[in-house]
Symmetry: D2
Subunit: 430 residues, 4 copies
């Protein structure tokens, strides 16, 4: 067991210990310095070649990166919490790791596995009915929490790395420890890193998702594409009593935009969505609004529909601003696309899963309800001729994803590792 | 009495007979061919120099002119109803008359009087409680009616022309028989005709306006400025069930415009108004609207405020259209401005009115509630150094202006002529 | 050939002659007095039992019925154009016919066929490139036209009635000559007539729909449900310049409603639609609007989604009105639902069609893009244990449905009759 | 000079020292515990009868009172900063002081003077070009600042109290040290305290307002009435991608409200205003908004127009909420009315001011551009037969009211005291 609060794990730690150590030190998107560094250390020990920071991803393609101060603070915290300095140095200011190693005669396929490492900005439950609290690995960070199982995903990635050498695998394994999955921010730069382009077989995976321990979904696919963006309207304030006509009302621009955004015509080729989340216009009641900020999300069944929603949105924002003589800017901070899992991968996963101890129920293909940025990796693999899927690994969870008392059933870690190892063996043997 | 339906009057007709003849043949704005022609004939007989059609006004400045077919039909109707062809020929396609004559030694001032001649597009009442029906001079035109007293105004103009020679007036009288006052369409071209520029004393007048017979308002002024315009949005239709995304929705553009028009910031320098009257978007329920038409009016206490409202409106319309990928055009079809009556004229009118038989009550200055395009003539006169006012002549009217059973008390015709003649004498003697 | 303009057909007329006679005398929804009467006469001659007017449908359930004057005028016109008075009398004020006859020993199934009879309010093309013009059977009615092939449908119904007796059919044939299909107005009252409830096998059919002659779609299904309604907002007018605050602005209510209608949240269970078609607010530019009228259509993939859209719409209309102190009323004038065709019927139709001369291409099941009120009849049949389908019969058409130069390929009439007769034989033999 | 940061002043301090001490310890509305306590101490020393807390005002009529925790914190801070505990005890939880004293034989009039004590929530400038920084009396409170001159007003009140005894005044002086003028929150409870009802002559005053030192405005009046209110919409969140139809969108309610608020018809009886200041809807981009908060201000030339604006607003908010199945509540947190200054007071002030050293320019009556809650006190005085005015005392100010570098010219303190003392003498001598 890990006792000291900020102790790190070593090569002898179990997957459960590792998962708990990560759980106790959650790091939100683009702040995964400690996680990346410790994983890199472990995989270095295992003989993997490591690509860190700007070698792991196309850093200029990153979306939704916090400002420099936040990044610096996260890096400093990681250092305080045991992340080896020399690894941090290699990472620079960007988190993320691609680890690869070739086995046997190297004539087998290149297999890629994506696991995501980022936590959420949620305050974790602190009552004793919550296992991480009871068992001492609740979040040490007041406003961050692993409430989506990425701590488990990271541990699974390590589990695969540890055991792949024991198998007859003759190809190259590439493990993508991806930052900033939440919000759809980390996959695009990872997909453009070059590391994905020669992958023959690719899988991303997710624990839970409403499936109980023992269930495996071999091919989750067809999520809605989405795009998240921030709009800032900047007008001209004026005294609302003395000279309202002298203002340029940012709030009227925002209001016109919101009403027209919700009214974007439905698309007859498939589902579309639009939502305005946060709206903030912080003026006094006697001041014509000079600033309004909106965060917006559109979705579409296809990239075309998503692009249609985005184009309409841009148009509406631009002319709502111009109508009220208001400036604006739009900043995209997250994006996902859609994909279809390949039959060959689905068959490989479902055949493999059926033989894994503890697997009680295998489903071949299901529609993925939420959005996922692994979609960009899968598209890239498929564009280069590879085969891909997105695997659901059941894990009993006491409460919903993204809630303060989320937790996973740790027995699913071993199941996931086994399903993946067998799948690798299956595709290798073709 | 005039017996035959479409008989015309001659030099022996009384003012009441003339007013009734005109009442029976109402002609809406820019269609006053018969009225203009008969008035011109009468004033020609009286020795006035006549300026007709494009000699009476700057025709290219006309607003809200009906299309060529309508004009041609109105002209043909006038011909059928007794308008002398040679006068019609001189008028060309534009109605309107300026008649002038110099009296005595010509050393006196130039005095201008504006009377308007156009009728409204209203269906006149046809029950016997309505005097024009009872007495046989109800409108012969099914959808036009003199419901604002302009028939009386025209007769008053003739009355002044007939009697001015009997006075000691030593100056020049210019009578402006103006077309298309309703909607604010005829005064701008009249004001730019050149005929107004040398006027020393100017008066426009109106019967009724809620004042009973015997009341005279020497200086009605400070109306709100206004501007009337038509907006046409032209989009792209599409099947609302099968492909709503393929349309460019003119109605959404119109709706966005309407909401933002009503929300134009109030102006702190004085009253402003905005209204959308007619909206028409004639599509089927399953068709994305490809056409929407609006008529809009803005007003302002000053020309600056009016211009502010107009500028904002243009901006809103333009960007509502662009937001929805819709074309638009804006057509101004009416305009008025504001003015302040000159004290010198107010004094002249009120002093004169006090001596006229039948005048029981004289008010010096009152705010004019509605809009009036005589405002452009008054501004022009004042800009060139002349003095001007707008006179209210009380006339009992059984129902409101612009209603089907509107009528005037014909005894007010004589009062008006006398007030004006005495006013001319007063200003001449200065 | 039919020579005299308003001659009627008799038992010797060919299907093409009948179709052309009907084409020349198009009657819009609820005005099909001549069509109903002549069809009834023909089917009476053939020995069918006739149910007319309120015996054919639940008249109180009719939607979108024109006012009494319009109905009376349509009835009088039918009389002038040769509709037998005694049949008109039986019909009363409602069009529509259900004709039934039992064949053989009557032990076979009850088979129902729905054909619709109404025309559209479209002005038919009158140039010689349009066959009905060239060949002398263009619409005699200036603003009505058979632009959706219902003239052909009616002729097909007669064709089936004429030839069924030649087959070995041992059951009961019910022919539903339905009024007012356009707008989704006639099927609900027909479905509640009682005549549908014992039908074992049911088919409705449509010519054209983009399919060329020779193509048969055995099972068109899954149309969007829809609901069409008219909203009237009644406010209080006021002078927009003098007292805008005294009005209750019907146009502001309408505008608020329109913006919120288009913004009804998309439904995650399937496609939804909303559209505002006609908007009419006929006020002057200086009058606060006291009246605004909208026609609206919502659609949904399921009846639940359609109902959701309708409920939201009602709510929005009600509170848009209340917000502006405006009265409102909502009148539903058309409605359709959705359905799934039964495999048994699809097989019967596709097997039958394959054997019909001239059929070159058979498709089993396709999604029906538009809305169809036959959906109510199909649901009723299925609710009572019967099997149903909606059949597409290809027919070259030179221009789109609902356009002025629409026409059908008359060879498809015979194909349709044969496909239906063989289908009846097929289901009878089970 | 005051040296220690939180030292308090005593009877020997000059007005400038007192003003600077108050400036250094600004207290926002309803938090003026230190200010009230120190003023009370000073006036107690001068022999005034003191009414504190619920004896000074009708506490249940207070608007916009911060929550209990904030009040308690403000009280504790005052205690730390030298406010005498026994005075704080008398005040309870409400700030505010009415101090009165009768002079001479007491046969003279009751004279009331209102000075306000509250600061603003503004961060004061801290560069050396800002005199309070340079001279060491910049705000000790990070987010509060005297940016509207109330520190000076309070000092002026003390100045009058100190010197009135030296004059021949024979009546009763009531000094109203009012809390929470900003936002229009403190005058209503003060006006209903009973202390105003027997006032014969009343004056409120303000420094600056764009007038340079030496200018006196004897009668500022006719401000717009206003009303400030907070609206909270509470809906139902839902996942915007998975089930948008399950939400009740508070933001759509807010948006509909905002657009319709700005579009409230202009009132023809005089100026009206409406503004939405802060809008806050803090949801994630993928969450249907369950909460939106708005602060709103309406104004009107008269109380009727203000009430009209308020009524319309309520109506719009209620139905915007209902339209989207959203709950709402409205909380009024500030209110002012209008008034006309009495000629008698204007004459008294202008005659007196003309004799004061340093006064270079006296204006009799000017329209007050902003809103003022002294309006409620003035109305109350006038309703009870007293005479009242609102006096402007010029004071050079380097930057605008309510800005971080606002300051006053301290020589205006003495001028103000002298103008008021002479005015009291003038009304006493009548």
């Amino acid at each position: 067991m890990i006792e000291n609060e900020d102790s790190v794990w070593d090569g002898t730690a179990s997957l459960v210990e590792i998962r708990r150590n990560i759980h106790a030190h959650p790091e939100a998107g683009w702040k995964e310095f400690r996680t990346t560094a410790l994983v890199a250390t472990e995989l270095g020990r295992l003989g993997f070649t490591l690509h860190l920071g700007d070698e792991a991803l196309a850093v200029e393609e990153r979306l939704g990166v916090p400002d420099d101060d936040e990044i610096a603070a996260a890096r400093a915290r990681a250092c305080n919490e045991g992340a080896p300095e020399e690894v941090l140095e290699k990472m620079g200011n960007s988190t993320g790791l691609v680890a690869e190693r070739t086995y046997g005669d190297g004539t087998g396929p290149v297999v890629g596995i994506r696991v995501d490492m980022d936590a959420l900005e949620i305050v974790e439950a602190r009552d004793d009915s919550h296992a991480p609290m009871r068992d001492g690995f609740v979040s040490r960070h007041s406003t961050e929490m692993h409430a989506c199982g990425h701590d488990g995903h990271t541990a699974i990635g390590i589990g695969i790395a540890r055991k792949i050498g024991e198998s007859a695998f003759d190809g190259t394994l590439k493990l993508f420890f991806q930052p900033a999955e939440e919000g759809g921010r980390g996959a695009i730069p990872t997909s453009k890193s070059g590391h994905v382009d020669d992958v023959d077989y690719f899988a991303a995976l997710h624990l839970g998702l409403g499936n109980e321990t023992g269930t495996v979904i071999a091919g989750y696919d067809r999520p809605l594409c989405n795009c998240k963006f921030l709009v800032r309207f900047t007008g001209q304030s004026a005294h609302a009593g003395n000279a309202p006509q002298e203002g340029s009302n940012a709030l009227q621009a925002a209001t016109t935009a919101i009403q027209n955004l919700y009214a974007i015509p439905r698309h007859s080729d498939g589902a579309s969505r639009v939502n305005v989340g946060k709206v903030s216009s912080p003026n006094g009641q006697n001041v014509i609004s000079d600033h309004a900020e909106l965060i917006i999300e559109v979705r579409g069944k296809t990239t075309d529909i998503n692009e249609y929603m985005m184009e309409k949105s841009r148009h509406i924002v631009a002319h709502s601003a111009a109508m009220h003589d208001v400036e604006y800017d739009i900043e995209t901070y997250g994006k996902t696309t859609t994909f279809e899992a390949d039959d060959e991968m689905i068959t490989a996963v479902s055949d493999s899963a059926a033989t894994v101890e503890g697997v009680t129920n295998v489903s071949k293909r299901e529609r993925f309800g939420a959005s996922e940025d692994a979609s960009f990796l899968i598209q890239r693999v498929q564009d280069h001729g590879g085969k891909a899927t997105y695997i659901g690994i059941g894990s009993d969870h006491p409460s919903g994803h993204h809630t303060p008392s989320f937790d996973i059933d740790e027995t699913s870690l071993r199941i996931a590792v086994d399903v993946l190892l067998k799948t690798i063996a299956t595709v290798d043997s073709r």
